[in-house]
């Protein structure tokens, strides 16, 4: 499904087809990113002592990555979660989120695909992606935003809970939706 668009379309079309992604893919990426942002906003739950916020956006990141591969995971996770950050008023996090959640989706998709979607590969992919996300947030808060060691450390348990819950739900969703609607989950 990657790209078959410009090949037979006359002299203006470029010879290398990798320039474009197909309409299906563009629509899918846009929709998945919007869905990630919408679910992050809808399930937003501010957590009092640290004012990080808990949400189920990670389940969508993992769903995109497991069902549609690492590129979908990276784009939808990164863009969707960063957009949700800006719209929730946490714009200071948006660049960090773009990298952290994008990397999470990319790694989860990559590992689960290279293990051909077996159970161990899915679990390993979610664990590795989640670990990457938590580390990125921690390092970014500590070194890059310079908020102090204590504040950065206080976010870690919430992120761990988010990855565990989000990973479980995301893997479950992939399984359920692939079983009930095999035509929808391509690739």
């Amino acid at each position: 499904m990657e790209s078959q668009a410009p090949s037979e379309l006359g002299p203006e079309a470029t010879p290398e087809p990798a320039k474009f992604v197909s309409p299906q893919t563009v629509a899918l990426y846009g929709i998945l990113a919007a869905l990630t942002a919408a679910i992050t906003i809808a399930s937003y739950l501010p957590f009092s002592p640290t004012k990080g916020y808990f949400n189920l956006g990670d389940s969508m990141v993992f769903f995109s990555a497991l069902a549609f591969g690492c590129r979908a995971g990276a784009i939808c996770g990164g863009v969707g979660s960063a957009a949700a950050d800006v719209l929730l008023g946490a714009g200071v996090y948006a660049p960090v989120t773009l990298v952290a959640k994008g990397g999470e989706g990319f790694v989860a998709g990559l590992i689960s695909r290279s293990g051909r979607g077996k159970n161990w590969a899915v679990v390993l992919g979610i664990a590795a992606g989640g670990a990457l996300m938590i580390t990125t947030y921690f390092m970014a808060e500590w070194l890059f935003l310079d908020v102090g060691f204590g504040k950065a450390l206080a976010e870690v348990p919430i992120n761990v809970a988010q990855v565990v819950l989000g990973g479980t739900i995301g893997a479950g969703l992939t399984y359920m939706i692939r079983r009930s609607y095999p035509t929808l989950v391509r690739g």
Binding site: P6, A13, Q24, A27, I75, V92
Partner: protein, 262 residues
């Protein structure tokens, strides 16, 4: 709904009229400046400048509060937590067991809090004054591949639609007796799956419809897509750009060339 679905508001201030590319560059440069400055007073000055810009963009009080709501608690927390984890320096103000509160640590906490405030608010200069269409177009002009630009535009367009879908599915589940706002984290997340599945399925269906619509409009027929309206840099935009660059360069020059502690 906790957030806005679109932060942009119509207006006719100079910030609305300026080219979106200039605004994106300005936001990036001001962020860089916030990282380079390392003492309290210039950072406070920068924060004031950002607020003046927000005020000039006719941001209403409630919108300005929205930009600050999240970050104010964050800033307070930094100021409180910083001295606890950083016992270096003298004079010591107070000692609680192993925890020492020192004056330089308190100042460092305040500096860091003001910097985070700058980084958080500077975004909203761009978001309050630029429509999503202009934003995506500017990003594509600045070198983003247009198919990814289109995906971004689609996602921004569909965000409110999906928020509405989620709300109505939640209502439907509530009518069947599901409690979505009760219980602990685990129970809530478990109940949420019943909302997620129908939302995802309906979203993937609309992705299929959308791809048919893109096909029928000959998406991808030409490698170089053309635009109805090309954004052009006017002299005014160039002036604004040079002012923003000066705002970055002057303090950097004073700090690194003349050694003024900024």
């Amino acid at each position: 709904m906790t957030g806005f679905v679109d932060l942009y508001s119509e207006g006719d201030t100079f910030l609305h009229r300026i080219d979106a590319r200039v605004k994106i560059i300005a936001v990036l440069l001001l962020s860089v400046l916030a990282f380079l400055l390392s003492s309290v007073y210039p950072l406070t000055l920068l924060l004031t400048f950002i607020f003046i810009l927000l005020f000039l963009a006719r941001a209403t009080l409630s919108r300005t509060w929205f930009a600050l709501r999240f970050v104010i608690r964050f800033m307070v927390l930094i100021v409180v937590l910083w001295p606890i984890f950083d016992p270096s320096g003298t004079p010591v103000w107070a000692t609680f067991g192993p925890v020492k509160i020192t004056e330089p640590a308190v100042w460092r906490g305040i500096t860091s809090a003001v910097r985070v405030g700058c980084l958080a608010c500077v975004w909203y200069i761009l978001m309050f004054t630029t429509s999503q269409r202009d934003l995506v177009r500017a990003l594509v002009k600045m070198g983003l591949r247009f198919d990814f630009g289109l995906a971004l535009a689609i996602s921004l367009r569909f965000l409110p639609t999906f928020s509405a879908t989620i709300d109505s599915i939640k209502d439907a589940e509530r009518a069947r007796g599901m409690e979505l706002d009760k219980g602990g984290l685990l129970k809530r997340s478990k109940n949420y799956v019943a909302v997620l599945v129908p939302t995802i399925v309906s979203a993937l269906r609309s992705a299929d419809t959308l791809s048919l619509a893109l096909h029928s409009r000959a998406y991808g027929a030409r490698a170089d897509r053309t635009y109805l309206r090309e954004p052009k840099m006017r002299p005014k935009d160039a002036v604004a750009l040079s002012i923003v660059i000066a705002i970055l360069v002057v303090p950097v020059f004073f700090k690194y060339a003349l050694g003024v502690p900024l």
